[in-house]
Symmetry: C2
Subunit: 511 residues, 2 copies
């Protein structure tokens, strides 16, 4: 039996395994500040890759980057009732701007420096960006306005989990205003498609794009669309959302323009966001019992060279040999970018270094010992094929020049393989044969530990009827995820009400 690198397997305890990946791959750690983590270089490096690739796509969509204030006056929120109701329970509130001695050797907020109006640490920026839009938009000529920001936001969650749900997290938020609802809706879908394509292409993460049921909408939105990814425990993770806000925020914030006929109309606004939560999704999509496997496009280092140093004079030519390899590889491109190649010269044992990179999930680890050098070879480990059939580590000896020739293609093949593996899992675990609610209950009670999702037809109930459906599901710890864009048309009765179905909807346990 293979002795894996992590102290716990997915099968044994998925939640503990998740924490173990983060710890063993040095991605993040608890900061000591409630609900906030420290993102260490490997975790933050993956975020930087996500930023770079997503940012290119956002710009290509015609958005410009900007930066808005961290603090939002309370009165800005109060203008949009649904919006503030949705966030009031989890807002960090700044009330003072100075500290003074508390008379007991410590400090306390200075009562004389109490703010007249509390400031909210942004949980999202519709309100403060809407205030700017109301200044910028006067005429139809000023539309569309399309801006994006990369920022930190705070939502005071009671139960936090690294990457998936933290009090402070990093994200991008796109905000735009258009003249017509049609255009705004079309751009909402363009944002959704951008996320779908980014998740699949860059993160090798297959997703289902669709609309959220009304009770799961962003507070203040008319429509919320999401991409949902299947984690290896069968749960769903909402990995990005795109919101059609209609004229709700425009009415509340006076984003009005004079149309070509000279009549004033409210603009239609949209917003869409993706966050560091994506990294949690990447871990639970691609991780295995030896740690993380990072898709090459978003790996901070795609190839890591580990010379087997002996703290001896022979080390010098070995290091030179490795540097030469690093130079050759760095001159190549994969996915239209130069290869990112690290040479690990840390003063540690080669085996320890090998396993640290395996646990981090570097796509290719190249070990080079004296014998490799003598034969002009290298020993290559592909992170997606770590073991041979016989359970031994699959380290292939290749000539250095052959490896240089193959490295780019190998990275592309790893990217494809990771996607294919996750796609096969997603496809195999969406069940469309659950006949009724009793069968649903049985399915989730009896099926494998990691049951997957169930797709059913429904009549798209709203209001109290929808609440009833959600309550029944909640009793089974289940939720409605979204109504997939690409689902087959409805052709039967609603799974919940028996009324004629109008579309299909996904049911799953979720993060």
């Amino acid at each position: 039996m293979i002795k894996h690198a992590l102290p716990v397997t997915r099968e044994a305890d998925f939640a503990a395994w998740y924490q173990a990946v983060i710890a063993e791959a040095d991605m993040a750690e608890d900061s000591g500040v409630r609900g906030c983590m420290v993102m260490r270089p490997w975790g933050y490096g993956i975020w930087e890759r996500i930023q770079r690739l997503l940012d290119d796509r956002i710009r290509a969509n015609g958005y410009d980057n900007t930066y808005f204030p961290l603090f939002i006056p309370l009165s800005y929120f109060e203008k949009e009732a649904e919006h503030v109701e949705g966030f009031a329970k989890e807002m960090a509130v700044v009330t003072h701007h100075r500290l003074i001695p508390d008379g007991k050797g410590g400090l306390m907020p200075d009562p004389a420096a109490k703010l007249e109006e509390p400031l909210i640490v942004r949980p999202t920026s519709e309100t403060v960006i809407g205030a700017a839009f109301s200044r910028w938009v006067q005429s139809w000529r000023d539309l569309p306005v399309q801006i994006n920001q990369w920022a930190n936001v705070v939502r005071w969650e009671m139960r936090t989990r690294m990457f998936l749900r933290t009090a402070e997290f990093l994200w991008q938020e796109g905000h735009a205003a258009y003249a017509s609802a049609e255009q705004a809706k079309a751009e909402t879908m363009k944002g959704l498609e951008l996320y779908r394509d980014f998740a699949e292409t860059c993160c090798a993460m297959p997703v289902v794009a669709g609309e959220k049921p009304e009770n799961e909408r962003f507070p203040g939105a008319e429509e919320t669309w999401s991409i949902e990814a299947m984690m290896q425990d069968g749960k769903a993770l909402q990995a990005g959302t795109s919101h059609f806000l209609g004229t709700h925020f425009a009415e509340a914030q006076n984003i009005r323009f004079q149309n070509k006929e000279g009549v004033f109309e409210p603009a239609n606004t949209i917003s869409w966001g993706m966050s560091t939560r994506m990294i949690g999704g990447i871990i639970m999509t691609h991780g295995d019992d030896d740690g993380l496997r990072v898709p090459p496009r978003i790996a901070p280092w795609q190839v890591v060279i580990v010379p087997m140093l002996r703290d001896a004079p022979e080390d010098e030519p070995l290091i030179d040999y490795c540097r030469e390899l690093q130079g050759q590889l760095s001159a190549l491109t994969a996915f239209g970018e130069p290869l990112r190649v690290q040479l690990d010269l840390k003063p540690a044992k080669a085996a320890a270094k090998r396993w640290s990179w395996v646990k981090k999930g570097a796509p290719i680890v190249v070990e080079v010992g004296g014998r490799d050098m003598a034969g002009a070879n290298v020993s290559v480990i592909r992170r997606d094929r770590l073991y041979r059939e016989d359970g031994k580590l699959d380290s292939a000896v290749l000539s250095r020049s052959a490896f240089v020739d193959e490295a780019g293609g190998m990275l592309e093949s790893i990217q494809t393989a990771l996607h294919a593996e996750a796609k096969a899992r997603l496809d195999a675990n969406i069940h469309r044969d659950v006949a009724d609610f009793a069968a649903l209950e049985t399915f989730f009670a009896e099926s494998a530990k990691f049951p997957g999702w169930v797709e059913v037809q429904w009549s798209k109930p709203t209001g109290p009827a929808l609440e009833q459906v959600e309550a029944r599901l909640k009793a089974l710890k289940l939720t409605l995820r979204n109504t997939p864009q690409d689902a087959a048309p409805a052709d039967g009765a609603c799974f919940f009400t028996g009324a004629p179905a109008v579309e299909r909807v996904l049911i799953a346990r979720a993060y």
Copy 2:
């Protein structure tokens, strides 16, 4: 006389001119949130260029990017007395994590959701990063630790000014821990040199690097070094600082390591930061009465092509002609990067577009009309040479192919010219011939409106003697800036005390 593009000149009202550049170049605007600005695409785009170029240098220095929490528990600050004293007066304090209805139709912080310990919105991260260092550093093998973060920080300033002093600002902060004071000091100087080189090379901003007098040190530091730039009104702007913190933070936060002899020692730490303030410095270094002039290396767009459209069928071939030019230029490199070329197809008059790019300070604006196209030409405006001797706009007709051949070199020449102009101003305005305090008073009272700096020899007084010097200067609205690294050795008496001088120090009005 030239009719300049800005409503106010530097000569007439420098402060109003500064605001006019920011407004007319669409760099930033007031956000409605006290002391916070909105960075619009052109202003934020310059920041993104600064980030990219500075980040490359920081990585090359062996630092890894990370991300630490926005909130720092008050108790973390209380551990280092000088540090907290330096920041307590300007800290934004989070006291509650939920809002509830206030009974008057609005919301208020929920008394039941008061935090047990107030959280400070980070004004700087030594304390929370130090807490992580204390976890990471156990043995001499764990050193050095070198990390950087790009983040927003908050200092509740009473008087704010866009870019120069805002309640929230963006920056990078480098933090490192070393085994010895010698190494930490050497690395402090390496950080300073990185800033000096970055300012000069990338921002075309000549600076004087030197040590701050003790009362101007970062709270908790043993030594603070700065780069100081001369603005066009003769005032000094501190544009980056590097701090040797000794063992102050390590003692307060228990950053200890076992040395090779097995004895526990506190580490020596350093930190260094540069912020969006730099953009204010770029405006006041390179701006002129027609707006900003952005050094090509940090310009979001280096070449902007403005076709003279007539809303007619002839526009099509003209746009094609311009796109072809954009493609040719984008395939070139300058400063080792591909050229950044924008084609401005906005529905506005060509002259309005030309002047909007002049005010923004795009290094090269290329206008293309029907006649240009017919002759296979383009009309080229260099932002550093806007007018001819006769006061007319200097728009040179070049063949398109000649311009493509010259564009990269032209950008490099603009970068050089902007630096040379600023360097000549700095060199001409450091006065070393002011004999005594009475002469100093006369000099600043009588000299030109924009007097520059005065360099004097001093005995480096400390404690009350230094305070006395600073008080005398303060009465003249003057401050000590730094003791320049490259100054001539002292060879006379102290300007202030008459005692033997040990070094030279700069006196200036400052931002």
